[in-house]
């Protein structure tokens, strides 16, 4: 009885704190992410499933630092970087963040267009309506409503789990592939592995999660629950990736169909796995795209305003925070416009550029985060422990070298 009471109070506190980690992790599975996982599954079958577990670990490592900084300082990552490293660095960092986030928004609207067309909606109809709905929701709705909408949207990812099961994977092989790294290495495979890690850990996530933690005002003594939130988010996102790869591996890999993006994957699933499986996959893609396209512009505007000292926050009115809403609007509509106007061939160099900036930005940000989380005057008693530091530097070096590798390989290809 007593134990049950204790659990109840744990759960009650967790319910207060939960959100930032899970929402961030789920937006991570946006159109770009789904594309990468689908291609990985289709091309390499079950053999790359093992990559997901270490990626999940790295994700927890990085995101935990963000939410810790948010809880301890009550400031966003952009503000901390400005205070600790000055205006010059912050300014160029924000420019890079702006472009890589814009690239992500473009990818999301392209994903929305692709999934809408699978359901028979024309892209010239779906993208403008989607963009306007998102814009309206943030400008007119309060933050609480917006967050609730996003939280519910996370549930739509279940559609990937279902489509994963419906695809009828070979569980024996899948389990082997998840545990034993039995991969034949060549430059293509390496590029794929790097791509998986690179799309799973993206720079905007650190800014967004920390900002949400701050906005939620989580008290330090409940930080433990925030850690649970981060871990839960990372696990959920990994499971979703797993099932996307599984669905594509079970159907597309064995029949040898090659695909280039998530829209292709959904189309290709139709004849092999059935209409419902493909429909669910496309539905997941649509909600993921909308989710990403909603959050990334908010995150971009928040980070830049925080760094430059402009008024910000979805709780303020347009006239109170003009910079914030202008940035938000520009990123959202520019993303939608490029996704609509650009043909597939034109989108590829844009995406490559965004990926390169992404890859350069991530190690820099992780380096700053490690410096800040090791700084006693900022973090007080909550600096990284020695073991954490060893793990974190190790993880950071791996993540950094992977993302630099990705840049180099992108440029070579």
């Amino acid at each position: 009885m007593d134990r049950w009471k204790k659990w109840k109070s744990h759960l009650a506190l967790f319910a207060l704190v939960v959100g930032p980690g899970i929402i961030t992790a789920n937006v991570d599975n946006d159109a770009g992410g789904i594309a990468t996982y689908s291609v990985a599954g289709a091309k390499y079958g079950y053999s790359l499933l093992w990559v997901l577990a270490p990626t999940c670990f790295l994700l927890v490592l990085v995101q935990e630092m963000c939410s810790r900084m948010g809880v301890v300082t009550g400031k966003g990552l952009a503000a901390l970087i400005r205070e600790r490293f000055g205006l010059g660095i912050s300014f160029y960092l924000m420019i890079a963040l702006f472009f890589t986030n814009l690239g992500n928004v473009i990818a999301d609207f392209a994903g929305l267009a692709a999934s809408a067309e699978i359901f028979g909606l024309h892209r010239w109809w779906a993208v403008p309506v989607g963009a306007f709905l998102l814009w309206h929701m943030v400008i007119k709705g309060s933050y609480r409503t917006v967050e609730r909408v996003f939280f519910v949207a996370c549930v739509f990812y279940v559609s990937y789990l279902i489509s994963g099961f419906m695809a009828g994977p070979d569980w024996h092989q899948a389990l082997r592939g998840s545990v034993i790294p039995n991969t034949t290495w060549d430059s293509d495979t390496l590029y794929m592995v790097v791509g998986i890690v690179g799309t799973t850990i993206a720079p905007w996530m650190q800014f967004y999660q920390q900002a949400s933690v701050v906005e939620k005002g989580i008290p330090l003594k409940h930080y433990r629950y925030s850690q649970w939130d981060t871990v839960a988010g990372a696990i959920v996102v990994t499971i979703v990736c797993y099932f996307i790869m599984l669905a594509c591996a079970a159907t597309l890999h064995s029949t040898g169909i090659s695909i280039a993006d998530a829209g292709d994957a959904a189309m290709a699933l139709k004849p092999v796995a059935g209409r419902y499986c493909a429909g669910l996959f496309a539905f997941g893609l649509m909600s993921a795209s909308l989710f990403g396209a909603a959050i990334l512009p908010i995150s971009t505007a928040t980070s830049i305003c925080e760094s430059m000292g402009w008024e910000r926050g979805v709780n303020r009115k347009f006239t109170e925070a003009p910079h914030y809403y202008s940035l938000y609007t520009v990123v959202l509509f520019a993303g939608a416009a490029v996704a609509l106007a650009a043909s597939k061939a034109m989108l590829i160099p844009i995406m490559l550029f965004s990926q390169v900036v992404n890859g350069i930005l991530l190690p820099v940000i992780i380096f700053f985060m490690l410096r800040i989380t090791s700084d006693k005057t900022i973090m007080g008693a909550h600096t990284n422990s020695r073991w954490f530091n060893i793990l974190a530097w190790g993880g950071a070096i791996i993540t950094a070298s992977i993302s630099i590798l990705m840049v180099v390989m992108t440029l070579i290809q």
């Binding site: 109070s9 009550g74 503000a79 205070e83 300014f91 309060s142 005002g217 000292g309």
Partner: protein
Amino acid sequence: MEQSQTIIQNTAADNSLPPVVFYNLSDLLGCPVRYEDERRPFAHLCDIGGSTLTAYPLSTALELTPCKGRAHSFLPWSAVLSMTVAETVVRRTTETAPPADFWARRDVLDDQVVDVSGAQVLRVNDVHLIYSNNKLIFGHVEIGLRGILRRLRFERTVNFLAQWLFDYTIKDSFVTWRHIQVMSPGGVPGGLRVDRLSDRLADIHPAELADILEQLGVKDRQALFNSMSVETAADALEEVNPEFQRTLVSHGEPGRVADILEEMPPDEAADVLRDLGPDAQTIINRMEGEAASEVQTLLSHKEESAGGVMDSSCIEALPGDTVASILDRIPKLTDTVEVYNLIYIIDENRVLKGVLSLRELFRAPPAVTLESLISHELITVNPETRLKDVARAFAKYGFQAVPVVNADGILQGVVRYDSVLSHLADFLND
């Protein structure tokens, strides 16, 4: 470099006055520092420390990055012979630098400060210093785009383009130091100096204080909150967003938080505690008996019901009391009750018999008993009545407060018009 310093030429008439030079902190930082008897610099300027004894702080110390080695050194301002953006000349001294109240680069530049006049939190893009008679005075903080552009070395280009294309000059935006409160002196977030703060923030309206609190980082926020008097803190806490209320309260020391909550109307205090989880009980236990039990009662009801927002104290009278005796008592009660213009008549079992307004009492002959004045029908609500229905009762009857009675007709408390309004205001946006 030269163009960023403006020398105001003194007219021949007041020749005796020394020249006044304005410097930007960003131009001074990193400039070479040399001894008067040497030609080569031995260090670079790293930071400037100031004293907040005056409204416009004087520089009291310099922090230097040596040309060789890594250990930073500190110099008292008295060692400085001259300062320009090209170089600073100092004499050799054995004096140690006095401790500074704040350091310009570490605590002000790029950090958040509070602008007391505008009641807002600002990020500092640059600091303007006034150099005159070999004294360095902190004059303004720069908060606008121009400061950002200057530090990024785009000022001239962007200004030229803006002039040429749009005939627009990018304006400076300053806040005078007189209105500035440095938030994290000593480089320690939350290391706020209370004594300095009290005179600058004392006159701010609670709603603006709440605005400031919401914009600060968690440590500065808590430090500011802790530095307020219990009364001010209670007023500010009422105005703060629910999420921030929760953090302020759960980070605070329970005893002090209990004192602050006692100062608040019980229904507001209950709202603060409602979402706090297990911490709420710790704080209630520290509250004074009566306030604690009121809050406890409110918490036992649902937030969106009459019981959750009612005040449990109101002016009560017996049916046999005379008008004169009750009018006599009212002035003493107005301190402790929120609703003072309505008198609730209850019998010895606390069953509500009627309500009289002050106006009715003033009009009645003094010797009359209250019982004889009760005329109109009694409108009441239950503790479970939903706030929307309570609001309808207010709209229909035009009351300022409505009594809450339980199933046996026993008076539980009163719901004020404004506490319903503040709850319903949350729905107005949706």
